[in-house]
């Protein structure tokens, strides 16, 4: 799908995913547009999202937003879970809790409904940052 949208071969995308090659610099604007991000964000290894409030007239539908859960464990493992808000809403409707949705017990006291309420009110960026006693860092970022 990505290859089709960029007009390149699936093999080329596969090479990017496997870290055996990088996209041509001329493709960066198209890739940034495809993922609804900026070229700066693509080039920065660790983007630092800030919390901001989007005015009602500039907000996109919450169903098009993604809730990213990033866990940096003290042992060096990095886990990223990208959950479209639409999936989070479904999970809440059927009664799943945060640890079940995210797979991380460190988030057991996070009220997902309140997070979604913040998103509905236009808040985006890093909404939650938790450091556990074991030294794991857990972040929830809404984009």
């Amino acid at each position: 799908m990505v290859a089709e949208r960029l007009g390149i071969s699936p093999q080329a995308v596969s090479k990017w995913e496997n870290d055996t090659s990088c996209p041509d610099i001329m493709l960066l604007p198209q890739i940034a547009k495809l993922y609804d991000t900026s070229i700066d964000a693509l080039l920065n290894e660790k983007p630092q999202p800030v919390v901001s409030v989007i005015p009602a007239e500039k907000r996109k539908s919450t169903d098009d937003m993604i809730l990213r859960i990033i866990v940096n464990s003290s042992s060096g493992d990095v886990v990223r879970v990208n959950l479209p808000i639409i999936l989070v809403k479904t999970a809440l409707e059927i009664g799943l809790s945060m640890p079940q949705v995210s797979g991380n017990e460190a988030l057991q006291n996070i009220d997902l409904e309140k997070v979604l309420l913040l998103v509905d009110r236009g808040l985006v960026g890093k909404l939650v940052e938790v450091q556990t006693a074991e030294g794991d860092m857990v972040e929830i970022v809404v984009e």
Binding site: Y35, I66, G76, R80, K89
Partner: protein, 83 residues
Amino acid sequence: MRIRVKADGHTIFLPIPSCLLFNPLSALLVCKFAAPHVAALSGLTYAQTRALMHGLSRARRKLRGEPLVDVKGGNGEQVYVIL
């Protein structure tokens, strides 16, 4: 769904057709046989499983090729799950 595992210099790529995952029979199998053995899914009914699969199916369109889960182990192992 595509699952890619990289470990010890080997890459395992497992493409699974979405139609095999997101259908009523799979939902029945998940809630009857998998859910009782997976803590995160315990108590999930057939209707809830169907709703979750429907949500995953819709989420697939929103992620547009981005991984649902991306794990990079401290020892270099990598696991990607792309819906």
